[in-house]
Amino acid sequence: MTTRNITCILCPQGCNLEVTVDGDSVIQVKGNACGKGKSYGAEECLDPRRVVTSSVKVIGGEYPLVSVKTAAPVPKAAIWDCIRAINAASVNAPVSIGQVIIENVAGTGIDVIATRNVAKSDDIVKEKICI
């Protein structure tokens, strides 16, 4: 049985939660002012996840980079592996929002997708003036 102290992020009160975990199950959450804090504390201890956002090099684009994100939150422990894969990746312009840049990043089963449109560098002049 282990006890962990974490800060609840759900509101500015920022309760200091004391979560007691035994293997795969949460025994108790203490310090939470509300019910939401209880489930946050449990989840954050058993399976903490984050959406990783970064940028990927674009070849032949109007911008040198395209912003990307993991399409769903990945396990916190996989953040650095995701970042290494993202840093090694590159993509040819044009890129459109939602386009898969890396499939199944770092074995998480989750794709890295583009969060911005990037036109080819020679296409920009044409559409510069009006949308």
Binding site: C11, V52, T53, P64, L65, S67, I83
Partner: protein, 422 residues
């Protein structure tokens, strides 16, 4: 001379939402003037997620949120002049613009929406003593370098100020391989969201030094280090607490200021606390036909609030242009009472309110278990018990038109905090 029904100055989230709303409300010819090469404003460099939870009920990144509104602007046939700088606005809505395509031009607008956003406070605003080397950036500048241009500002980083951009950049630079040594905050509390403190600092073991500031900058060509010191209750450095921290980069996340050079030259009345225009419930400024919305009025923490507020401004601007805007004076003054630093809007004309008016405000300190009191010059309207209120999180109160209508002939609405600061 070029003429447009509604001219929106600034193509960020505020300008986009205002332009779309103006079209939806019936203005035919709506044009956004934007000085960057693209629409979207600062959202394009905010590549982290967490935008849009209220409006789209999903967590988007900044560029995704911007694209949703850019697409809407396209669908509604909003025009835009990109790469174009507005030089001047007159009270009768003549707008002088310049770009390298058409040179200097004058545009006549049926109504104007100011949506210029805000700027970061820089080193000059803080008066940090020491040398003047390279390597000192505002957090937003560093954000643009890293996220859009592909440059790292440095490797060993100290962040001054725990505003959200500073926290976000502490994580971003860490993920890109930099050593972020600490974030210093002169106040005893952070102005950033709890979520950012946990997910940007705690997740990566970056220390947050409350009640600390940078007192001196070292380095000749490039910054080599800073001296940090603890501060007392009056935010004065405590002698003997100084500590030298070697670094090659100092990021400043020390507040945002609404960008109001144009408003000022037009003679629009500004609120000395926010630095933004004084506005009524329709987001109309002190000059009829000129409206303002988003961070040019007051700095928001959530872009969703900016979009909501800007839609009000856009709709009102369309009504004004169409001659359907009730031009009678706003009869109810809205005031920030004790404990409230500022409040928006500053006046209400009930006849122009559709269903309800939302008051946005910030408290001036951390309050736990305090009561928010809303009263008029005649009576106390209601009290709301609040578990916690912090200056970093904007508060809002929605007042129904029907409820206000029942209060008789009132001239003031005051929002105050009844209770002790922590």
């Amino acid at each position: 001379m070029i003429e447009h029904d509604v001219v929106v100055i600034g193509g960020g989230p505020a300008g986009l939402a205002a332009a779309v709303a103006a079209r939806q409300a019936g203005a035919e010819d709506v044009c956004i003037i934007e000085r960057d090469k693209r629409l979207g404003g600062i959202l394009q460099q905010c590549i982290h997620n967490g935008f849009g939870l209220h409006i789209f009920e999903e967590e988007l990144t900044g560029p995704e949120y911007a694209q949703r509104f850019i697409d809407m602007a396209r669908q509604w046939g909003v025009h835009s002049m990109l790469d174009t700088m507005v030089l001047d606005i007159t009270p009768d809505r003549m707008i002088t613009v310049v770009n390298n395509r058409d040179g200097l031009q004058t545009i006549k607008a049926g109504a104007v929406v100011l949506a210029m956003g805000c700027r970061e406070r820089s080193r000059g605003a803080l008066n940090i003593p020491g040398t003047r080397p390279a390597g000192i950036f505002t957090a937003g500048t560093a954000q643009r370098f890293v996220n859009m241009e592909g440059f790292m500002p440095g490797n060993q980083i100290v962040v001054l100020g725990s505003g959200d951009i500073g926290l976000i950049m502490a994580r971003r630079l860490t993920l890109e391989g930099a050593d972020v040594k600490m974030v210093c905050e002169i106040m005893p509390y952070s102005s950033g969201l709890k979520r950012n403190i946990v997910q940007c600092l705690d997740d990566f073991g970056i220390p947050l030094r409350m009640n600390h500031t940078v007192t001196e900058i070292h380095g000749k060509e490039r910054i080599e280090g800073v001296i940090i010191a603890a501060v007392d209750q009056n935010r004065k450095p405590i002698a003997g607490s100084e500590e030298y921290v070697p670094c090659d980069t100092l990021l400043l996340s020390v507040g945002l200021i609404p960008e109001n050079e144009l408003s000022r030259s037009a003679g629009i009345q500004l609120n000395p606390i926010t630095g933004g225009p004084v506005v009524d419930e329709s987001m109309q400024t002190s000059i009829p036909g000129i409206f303002a919305c988003g961070n040019v009025v007051h700095v928001n923490d959530l872009v969703d609030n900016v979009s909501t507020e800007s839609a009000i401004a856009g709709k009102a601007a369309a009504m004004y242009d169409l001659g359907m805007f009730d031009e009678s004076k706003a009869g109810i003054k809205v005031k920030a009472g004790p404990g409230v630093r500022y409040i928006v809007p500053n006046a209400i004309n009930l006849t122009r309110v559709d269903d309800a008016v939302t008051l946005y405000f910030r408290v001036d300190n951390v309050y736990e278990g305090a009561v928010l009191r809303v009263s008029t010059d005649k009576s106390i309207l209601f009290n709301i018990k609040k578990k916690i209120m912090v200056p970093g999180e904007m508060q809002h109160i929605k007042l129904k038109k029907s409820f206000l209508g029942k209060q008789g002939d009132i001239s003031d609405i005051v929002v105050e905090v009844a209770g002790e600061a922590n």
